[in-house]
Protein backbone atom coordinates (compact mmCIF):
# COMPACT_ATOMS: atom_id res chain seq x y z
CA UNK A 1 0.00 0.00 0.00
CA UNK A 2 1.38 3.35 -1.00
CA UNK A 3 1.49 5.88 1.81
CA UNK A 4 0.50 9.47 1.22
CA UNK A 5 2.84 12.24 2.17
CA UNK A 6 1.84 15.09 4.46
CA UNK A 7 0.48 18.08 2.56
CA UNK A 8 0.27 21.71 3.63
CA UNK A 9 -3.28 21.28 4.87
CA UNK A 10 -2.15 18.48 7.17
CA UNK A 11 0.83 20.46 8.43
CA UNK A 12 -1.45 23.37 9.30
CA UNK A 13 -3.79 21.00 11.12
CA UNK A 14 -0.83 19.63 13.08
CA UNK A 15 0.09 23.15 14.15
CA UNK A 16 -3.43 23.95 15.25
CA UNK A 17 -3.85 20.73 17.18
CA UNK A 18 -0.47 21.15 18.87
CA UNK A 19 -1.75 24.38 20.40
CA UNK A 20 -4.97 22.74 21.58
CA UNK A 21 -3.12 19.69 22.90
CA UNK A 22 -0.64 21.82 24.76
CA UNK A 23 -3.24 24.09 26.32
CA UNK A 24 -5.37 21.17 27.49
CA UNK A 25 -2.25 19.46 28.83
CA UNK A 26 -1.22 22.57 30.69
CA UNK A 27 -4.61 23.11 32.28
CA UNK A 28 -4.72 19.52 33.50
CA UNK A 29 -1.14 19.90 34.68
CA UNK A 30 -2.19 22.45 37.27
CA UNK A 31 -2.84 19.60 39.73
CA UNK A 32 0.87 18.82 39.51
CA UNK A 33 1.54 21.65 41.92
CA UNK A 34 0.83 19.29 44.80
CA UNK A 35 3.87 17.00 45.01
CA UNK A 36 2.16 13.62 45.24
CA UNK A 37 -0.25 14.35 42.43
CA UNK A 38 2.72 15.36 40.35
CA UNK A 39 3.29 11.68 39.77
CA UNK A 40 -0.33 11.21 38.65
CA UNK A 41 -0.01 13.99 36.12
CA UNK A 42 0.64 11.83 33.01
CA UNK A 43 -2.48 9.76 33.72
CA UNK A 44 -4.68 12.84 34.09
CA UNK A 45 -3.24 14.31 30.91
CA UNK A 46 -4.04 11.05 29.13
CA UNK A 47 -7.70 11.22 30.13
CA UNK A 48 -8.19 14.86 29.22
CA UNK A 49 -6.28 14.94 25.95
CA UNK A 50 -7.86 11.71 24.67
CA UNK A 51 -10.58 13.60 22.80
CA UNK A 52 -8.13 15.94 21.10
CA UNK A 53 -5.77 13.19 20.04
CA UNK A 54 -8.42 10.78 18.78
CA UNK A 55 -9.93 13.52 16.61
CA UNK A 56 -6.46 14.39 15.40
CA UNK A 57 -5.72 10.79 14.49
CA UNK A 58 -9.06 10.47 12.71
CA UNK A 59 -8.42 13.64 10.75
CA UNK A 60 -4.91 12.89 9.55
CA UNK A 61 -4.45 9.27 8.58
CA UNK A 62 -0.92 9.69 7.34
CA UNK A 63 2.53 8.77 8.60
CA UNK A 64 4.60 11.10 10.81
CA UNK A 65 1.65 13.25 11.95
CA UNK A 66 1.66 12.02 15.55
CA UNK A 67 5.42 12.13 15.95
CA UNK A 68 5.64 15.71 14.68
CA UNK A 69 3.04 16.76 17.25
CA UNK A 70 4.95 15.02 20.03
CA UNK A 71 8.34 16.40 19.06
CA UNK A 72 7.04 19.96 18.85
CA UNK A 73 5.46 19.59 22.29
CA UNK A 74 8.80 18.40 23.63
CA UNK A 75 10.53 21.37 22.02
CA UNK A 76 8.10 23.74 23.77
CA UNK A 77 8.77 22.06 27.11
CA UNK A 78 12.48 22.35 26.40
CA UNK A 79 12.20 26.04 25.53
CA UNK A 80 10.39 26.66 28.81
CA UNK A 81 13.36 25.30 30.67
CA UNK A 82 13.94 21.60 30.89
CA UNK A 83 16.80 19.27 30.16
CA UNK A 84 17.69 17.52 26.93
CA UNK A 85 16.48 14.24 28.51
CA UNK A 86 12.89 15.19 27.64
CA UNK A 87 13.70 15.56 23.95
CA UNK A 88 15.63 12.30 23.63
CA UNK A 89 12.98 10.41 25.59
CA UNK A 90 10.23 11.85 23.40
CA UNK A 91 11.93 10.90 20.15
CA UNK A 92 12.24 7.27 21.31
CA UNK A 93 8.58 7.21 22.37
CA UNK A 94 7.43 8.74 19.08
CA UNK A 95 9.21 6.09 17.00
CA UNK A 96 7.32 3.36 18.88
CA UNK A 97 4.00 5.19 18.57
CA UNK A 98 4.53 5.71 14.86
CA UNK A 99 5.32 2.03 14.27
CA UNK A 100 2.20 0.97 16.17
CA UNK A 101 0.09 3.32 14.12
CA UNK A 102 1.60 2.04 10.91
CA UNK A 103 0.64 -1.49 11.83
CA UNK A 104 -3.03 -0.50 11.99
CA UNK A 105 -2.63 1.35 8.67
CA UNK A 106 -3.56 4.59 10.45
CA UNK A 107 -7.24 3.65 10.46
CA UNK A 108 -8.02 0.96 13.02
CA UNK A 109 -9.18 2.22 16.39
CA UNK A 110 -7.35 -0.51 18.25
CA UNK A 111 -3.92 0.39 16.97
CA UNK A 112 -4.60 4.12 17.19
CA UNK A 113 -5.53 3.60 20.82
CA UNK A 114 -2.33 1.66 21.50
CA UNK A 115 -0.34 4.31 19.69
CA UNK A 116 -1.92 7.03 21.81
CA UNK A 117 -1.22 5.04 24.96
CA UNK A 118 2.46 4.93 24.05
CA UNK A 119 2.41 8.54 22.87
CA UNK A 120 1.06 9.69 26.21
CA UNK A 121 4.11 8.42 28.09
CA UNK A 122 6.23 11.21 26.59
CA UNK A 123 5.43 13.55 29.45
CA UNK A 124 6.78 11.01 31.94
CA UNK A 125 10.12 12.33 30.69
CA UNK A 126 9.58 15.42 32.78
CA UNK A 127 9.46 13.24 35.89
CA UNK A 128 12.21 10.99 34.57
CA UNK A 129 14.68 13.86 34.49
CA UNK A 130 14.09 14.48 38.19
CA UNK A 131 14.60 10.79 38.95
CA UNK A 132 17.84 10.78 36.97
CA UNK A 133 19.08 13.76 38.93
CA UNK A 134 18.36 11.98 42.20
CA UNK A 135 21.94 12.03 43.49
CA UNK A 136 22.02 15.74 43.06
CA UNK A 137 18.71 15.96 44.86
CA UNK A 138 19.95 14.05 47.91
CA UNK A 139 23.06 16.17 48.00
CA UNK A 140 21.01 19.35 48.15
CA UNK A 141 18.39 18.16 50.57
CA UNK A 142 21.01 16.56 52.76
CA UNK A 143 23.28 19.55 52.87
CA UNK A 144 22.43 20.59 56.42
CA UNK A 145 21.81 17.80 58.89
CA UNK A 146 18.51 16.78 57.39
CA UNK A 147 16.80 14.02 59.30
CA UNK A 148 17.77 10.71 57.80
CA UNK A 149 14.33 9.12 57.57
CA UNK A 150 13.02 12.15 55.77
CA UNK A 151 15.57 11.78 53.01
CA UNK A 152 14.80 8.11 52.66
CA UNK A 153 11.10 8.97 52.59
CA UNK A 154 11.83 11.26 49.70
CA UNK A 155 13.65 8.54 47.88
CA UNK A 156 10.72 6.23 48.25
CA UNK A 157 8.62 8.71 46.36
CA UNK A 158 10.91 9.27 43.39
CA UNK A 159 12.45 5.90 42.63
CA UNK A 160 12.47 3.63 39.63
CA UNK A 161 9.68 1.39 40.90
CA UNK A 162 7.32 4.34 41.22
CA UNK A 163 8.45 5.51 37.84
CA UNK A 164 7.25 2.24 36.32
CA UNK A 165 3.91 2.85 38.06
CA UNK A 166 3.80 6.31 36.53
CA UNK A 167 4.30 4.81 33.08
CA UNK A 168 1.58 2.21 33.66
CA UNK A 169 -0.77 4.90 34.97
CA UNK A 170 -0.04 7.01 31.90
CA UNK A 171 -0.93 4.09 29.61
CA UNK A 172 -4.13 3.29 31.51
CA UNK A 173 -5.13 6.95 31.55
CA UNK A 174 -4.55 7.18 27.83
CA UNK A 175 -6.71 4.12 27.16
CA UNK A 176 -9.57 5.64 29.17
CA UNK A 177 -9.04 8.89 27.31
CA UNK A 178 -9.10 7.09 23.98
CA UNK A 179 -12.46 5.48 24.77
CA UNK A 180 -13.90 8.85 25.81
CA UNK A 181 -12.52 10.23 22.57
CA UNK A 182 -14.20 7.47 20.57
CA UNK A 183 -17.51 8.25 22.28
CA UNK A 184 -17.18 11.93 21.43
CA UNK A 185 -16.23 11.20 17.84
CA UNK A 186 -19.44 9.24 17.39
CA UNK A 187 -21.59 11.64 19.35
CA UNK A 188 -20.43 14.97 17.95
CA UNK A 189 -17.79 15.12 15.30
CA UNK A 190 -19.03 12.56 12.80
CA UNK A 191 -22.41 14.25 12.76
CA UNK A 192 -20.83 17.67 12.28
CA UNK A 193 -18.77 16.35 9.39
CA UNK A 194 -15.44 17.30 10.93
CA UNK A 195 -13.75 13.93 10.51
Amino acid sequence: MKMEKLRIKDLVTIGVFTVIYFVVMFISGVVGVIPILYLANPAIVGITTGIVMMLFMAKIQKPLAVSILGIISALIVLAMGSTYIVLIHTIIIMVIAELLRKKGEYKSFKYNMMSFAVFNTWNCGIILQIALAKDRFIEMANARNMRQEFTTGLLNLINYRNLVLVYIAAIVGAIIGAYIGKLFLKKHFEKAGIV
Binding site: V12, I14, F17, L55, T83, R144, G153
Partner: protein
Protein backbone atom coordinates in the same frame (compact mmCIF):
# COMPACT_ATOMS: atom_id res chain seq x y z
CA UNK B 1 6.98 45.20 20.76
CA UNK B 2 10.58 46.35 21.28
CA UNK B 3 12.93 45.95 18.36
CA UNK B 4 14.97 43.03 19.59
CA UNK B 5 16.72 42.15 16.36
CA UNK B 6 18.62 45.40 16.09
CA UNK B 7 19.95 45.13 19.59
CA UNK B 8 23.64 44.11 19.59
CA UNK B 9 23.09 42.35 22.93
CA UNK B 10 20.42 39.98 21.67
CA UNK B 11 21.79 36.58 20.61
CA UNK B 12 19.96 34.75 17.84
CA UNK B 13 17.40 32.05 18.65
CA UNK B 14 19.69 29.18 17.64
CA UNK B 15 22.24 30.24 20.22
CA UNK B 16 19.61 30.59 22.93
CA UNK B 17 18.26 27.11 22.24
CA UNK B 18 21.80 25.66 22.41
CA UNK B 19 22.34 27.39 25.74
CA UNK B 20 19.19 25.82 27.18
CA UNK B 21 20.43 22.38 26.17
CA UNK B 22 23.90 23.11 27.58
CA UNK B 23 22.48 24.27 30.89
CA UNK B 24 20.68 20.93 31.10
CA UNK B 25 24.05 19.52 32.22
CA UNK B 26 23.95 21.60 35.36
CA UNK B 27 20.93 19.63 36.56
CA UNK B 28 22.91 16.39 36.61
CA UNK B 29 26.30 17.62 37.69
CA UNK B 30 27.21 19.64 40.70
CA UNK B 31 28.31 23.10 39.65
CA UNK B 32 30.04 25.36 42.10
CA UNK B 33 27.68 27.96 43.56
CA UNK B 34 29.86 30.91 42.48
CA UNK B 35 29.80 29.76 38.89
CA UNK B 36 26.05 29.31 39.08
CA UNK B 37 25.82 32.91 40.24
CA UNK B 38 27.98 33.83 37.29
CA UNK B 39 25.54 32.21 34.87
CA UNK B 40 22.54 33.85 36.53
CA UNK B 41 24.19 37.28 36.52
CA UNK B 42 25.12 36.88 32.86
CA UNK B 43 21.50 36.11 31.96
CA UNK B 44 20.33 39.01 34.12
CA UNK B 45 22.78 41.29 32.36
CA UNK B 46 21.41 40.22 28.98
CA UNK B 47 17.86 40.80 30.20
CA UNK B 48 18.89 44.28 31.32
CA UNK B 49 20.56 45.13 28.03
CA UNK B 50 17.43 44.03 26.17
CA UNK B 51 15.31 46.51 28.10
CA UNK B 52 13.68 44.05 30.50
CA UNK B 53 14.93 45.58 33.72
CA UNK B 54 12.23 44.06 35.88
CA UNK B 55 12.96 40.57 34.57
CA UNK B 56 16.66 41.05 35.24
CA UNK B 57 15.98 41.88 38.85
CA UNK B 58 13.42 39.10 39.29
CA UNK B 59 15.79 36.53 37.81
CA UNK B 60 18.53 37.29 40.30
CA UNK B 61 16.17 37.71 43.24
CA UNK B 62 14.46 34.35 42.76
CA UNK B 63 17.79 32.59 42.49
CA UNK B 64 18.96 34.29 45.66
CA UNK B 65 15.79 33.22 47.46
CA UNK B 66 16.09 29.62 46.30
CA UNK B 67 19.75 29.32 47.16
CA UNK B 68 19.05 30.72 50.63
CA UNK B 69 16.09 28.45 51.34
CA UNK B 70 17.40 25.14 50.05
CA UNK B 71 20.56 24.68 52.15
CA UNK B 72 18.63 25.67 55.28
CA UNK B 73 15.77 23.30 54.62
CA UNK B 74 16.81 21.28 57.66
CA UNK B 75 15.12 23.90 59.85
CA UNK B 76 11.71 22.55 58.99
CA UNK B 77 12.59 18.98 59.97
CA UNK B 78 10.33 19.09 62.99
CA UNK B 79 7.24 20.03 61.05
CA UNK B 80 4.84 17.46 59.78
CA UNK B 81 5.48 15.61 56.58
CA UNK B 82 2.78 17.33 54.57
CA UNK B 83 4.45 20.71 54.84
CA UNK B 84 7.73 19.05 53.99
CA UNK B 85 6.20 17.87 50.75
CA UNK B 86 5.77 21.47 49.73
CA UNK B 87 9.35 22.20 50.50
CA UNK B 88 10.44 19.50 48.09
CA UNK B 89 8.98 21.70 45.39
CA UNK B 90 11.52 24.34 46.37
CA UNK B 91 14.36 21.87 45.99
CA UNK B 92 13.12 20.85 42.54
CA UNK B 93 12.71 24.48 41.51
CA UNK B 94 16.23 25.20 42.66
CA UNK B 95 17.52 22.26 40.62
CA UNK B 96 15.95 23.24 37.31
CA UNK B 97 16.32 26.97 37.82
CA UNK B 98 19.24 27.52 35.45
CA UNK B 99 17.67 25.97 32.34
CA UNK B 100 14.39 27.61 33.32
CA UNK B 101 15.90 31.05 33.41
CA UNK B 102 17.64 30.52 30.07
CA UNK B 103 14.29 29.37 28.67
CA UNK B 104 12.60 32.48 29.95
CA UNK B 105 15.24 34.57 28.26
CA UNK B 106 14.56 32.71 25.01
CA UNK B 107 10.80 33.21 25.20
CA UNK B 108 10.83 36.85 26.25
CA UNK B 109 13.39 38.18 23.80
CA UNK B 110 12.76 36.21 20.59
CA UNK B 111 10.08 37.26 18.15
CA UNK B 112 8.26 35.00 15.74
CA UNK B 113 9.96 36.27 12.60
CA UNK B 114 13.47 35.61 13.82
CA UNK B 115 12.55 32.16 15.18
CA UNK B 116 11.13 31.15 11.79
CA UNK B 117 13.99 32.56 9.75
CA UNK B 118 16.53 30.94 12.06
CA UNK B 119 14.77 27.62 11.51
CA UNK B 120 15.33 28.20 7.79
CA UNK B 121 18.97 28.86 8.43
CA UNK B 122 19.69 25.58 10.20
CA UNK B 123 17.52 23.79 7.59
CA UNK B 124 14.79 22.44 9.83
CA UNK B 125 12.55 20.30 7.56
CA UNK B 126 9.32 21.87 6.38
CA UNK B 127 7.35 19.22 8.25
CA UNK B 128 8.39 20.81 11.54
CA UNK B 129 8.85 24.48 10.63
CA UNK B 130 5.37 24.97 9.14
CA UNK B 131 3.47 23.65 12.20
CA UNK B 132 5.56 25.88 14.47
CA UNK B 133 4.82 28.92 12.30
CA UNK B 134 1.11 28.02 12.31
CA UNK B 135 1.14 27.75 16.10
CA UNK B 136 2.23 31.36 16.47
CA UNK B 137 -0.44 32.44 14.00
CA UNK B 138 -3.18 30.35 15.62
CA UNK B 139 -2.60 31.14 19.27
CA UNK B 140 -4.28 34.60 19.33
CA UNK B 141 -7.39 33.35 17.55
CA UNK B 142 -7.45 30.38 19.90
CA UNK B 143 -7.55 32.72 22.88
CA UNK B 144 -10.35 34.69 21.27
CA UNK B 145 -12.46 31.60 20.61
CA UNK B 146 -11.84 30.39 24.15
CA UNK B 147 -13.19 33.68 25.50
CA UNK B 148 -16.25 33.54 23.25
CA UNK B 149 -17.11 30.00 24.27
CA UNK B 150 -16.79 30.88 27.93
CA UNK B 151 -19.10 33.84 27.46
CA UNK B 152 -21.66 31.73 25.64
CA UNK B 153 -21.62 29.21 28.48
CA UNK B 154 -22.09 31.91 31.06
CA UNK B 155 -25.22 33.04 29.23
CA UNK B 156 -26.56 29.51 29.20
CA UNK B 157 -25.75 29.08 32.88
CA UNK B 158 -23.22 26.26 32.66
CA UNK B 159 -20.67 26.53 35.45
CA UNK B 160 -17.72 24.51 36.64
CA UNK B 161 -19.89 22.82 39.26
CA UNK B 162 -20.58 20.01 36.82
CA UNK B 163 -17.04 19.33 35.61
CA UNK B 164 -17.78 16.60 33.06
CA UNK B 165 -20.41 18.41 31.07
CA UNK B 166 -18.40 21.60 31.48
CA UNK B 167 -15.47 19.92 29.82
CA UNK B 168 -17.68 18.60 27.05
CA UNK B 169 -19.23 21.96 26.35
CA UNK B 170 -15.83 23.63 26.18
CA UNK B 171 -13.92 21.12 24.16
CA UNK B 172 -16.44 20.17 21.48
CA UNK B 173 -17.07 23.66 20.08
CA UNK B 174 -13.41 24.47 20.50
CA UNK B 175 -12.37 21.53 18.35
CA UNK B 176 -15.02 22.21 15.72
CA UNK B 177 -14.08 25.87 15.44
CA UNK B 178 -10.35 25.09 15.38
CA UNK B 179 -10.82 22.56 12.59
CA UNK B 180 -12.52 25.24 10.51
CA UNK B 181 -9.79 27.76 11.29
CA UNK B 182 -7.18 25.19 10.26
CA UNK B 183 -8.87 24.86 6.87
CA UNK B 184 -8.90 28.63 6.45
CA UNK B 185 -5.22 28.99 7.32
CA UNK B 186 -4.35 26.20 4.89
CA UNK B 187 -6.21 27.94 2.08
CA UNK B 188 -4.58 31.28 2.88
CA UNK B 189 -1.13 29.68 2.96
CA UNK B 190 -1.66 27.87 -0.31
CA UNK B 191 -2.76 31.00 -2.17
CA UNK B 192 0.54 32.53 -1.08
CA UNK B 193 2.49 29.68 -2.65
CA UNK B 194 3.87 28.12 0.50
CA UNK B 195 4.41 24.88 -1.39
CA UNK B 196 6.60 26.30 -4.14
CA UNK B 197 10.04 24.72 -3.87
CA UNK B 198 12.07 27.87 -4.42
CA UNK B 199 14.19 29.41 -1.70
CA UNK B 200 12.14 31.86 0.34
CA UNK B 201 13.21 35.31 1.37
CA UNK B 202 12.35 36.49 4.86
CA UNK B 203 11.61 39.96 6.11
CA UNK B 204 13.84 39.42 9.11
CA UNK B 205 17.22 37.82 8.53
CA UNK B 206 19.19 36.24 11.32
CA UNK B 207 22.81 37.21 11.63
CA UNK B 208 25.57 35.80 13.77
CA UNK B 209 26.90 38.54 16.00
CA UNK B 210 29.74 38.83 18.50
CA UNK B 211 27.33 38.31 21.38
CA UNK B 212 26.50 34.80 20.10
CA UNK B 213 30.11 33.67 20.48
CA UNK B 214 30.49 35.50 23.77
CA UNK B 215 27.32 34.00 25.21
CA UNK B 216 28.23 30.42 24.28
CA UNK B 217 31.86 30.74 25.35
CA UNK B 218 31.06 32.37 28.70
CA UNK B 219 28.41 29.77 29.53
CA UNK B 220 30.72 26.91 28.50
CA UNK B 221 33.58 28.29 30.58
CA UNK B 222 31.33 28.63 33.61
CA UNK B 223 29.87 25.13 33.30
CA UNK B 224 33.26 23.47 32.79
CA UNK B 225 34.88 25.61 35.45
CA UNK B 226 32.05 24.91 37.87
CA UNK B 227 32.24 21.15 37.36
CA UNK B 228 36.02 20.99 37.72
CA UNK B 229 36.28 23.35 40.69
Amino acid sequence: MPAFQDNPYNPNPITKMCIIILLGFTVFHQVNIYFEWGIILLISFLFYKNGLKKEALKNAAFFAAFSCIVPNIGIIKNMNSFIMMFFIVFVICRMIYLPYSAGKFFIRTSDVGSIISSMDKIKVPQNISIPIAVMFRFFPSFKEEWKNIKMAMKIRGITIKTPFSYMEYVIVPLLVVSSNIADDIAKAAETRCIESPVKKTRYISVKIKTIDFLYVILILVMIIGGVLW
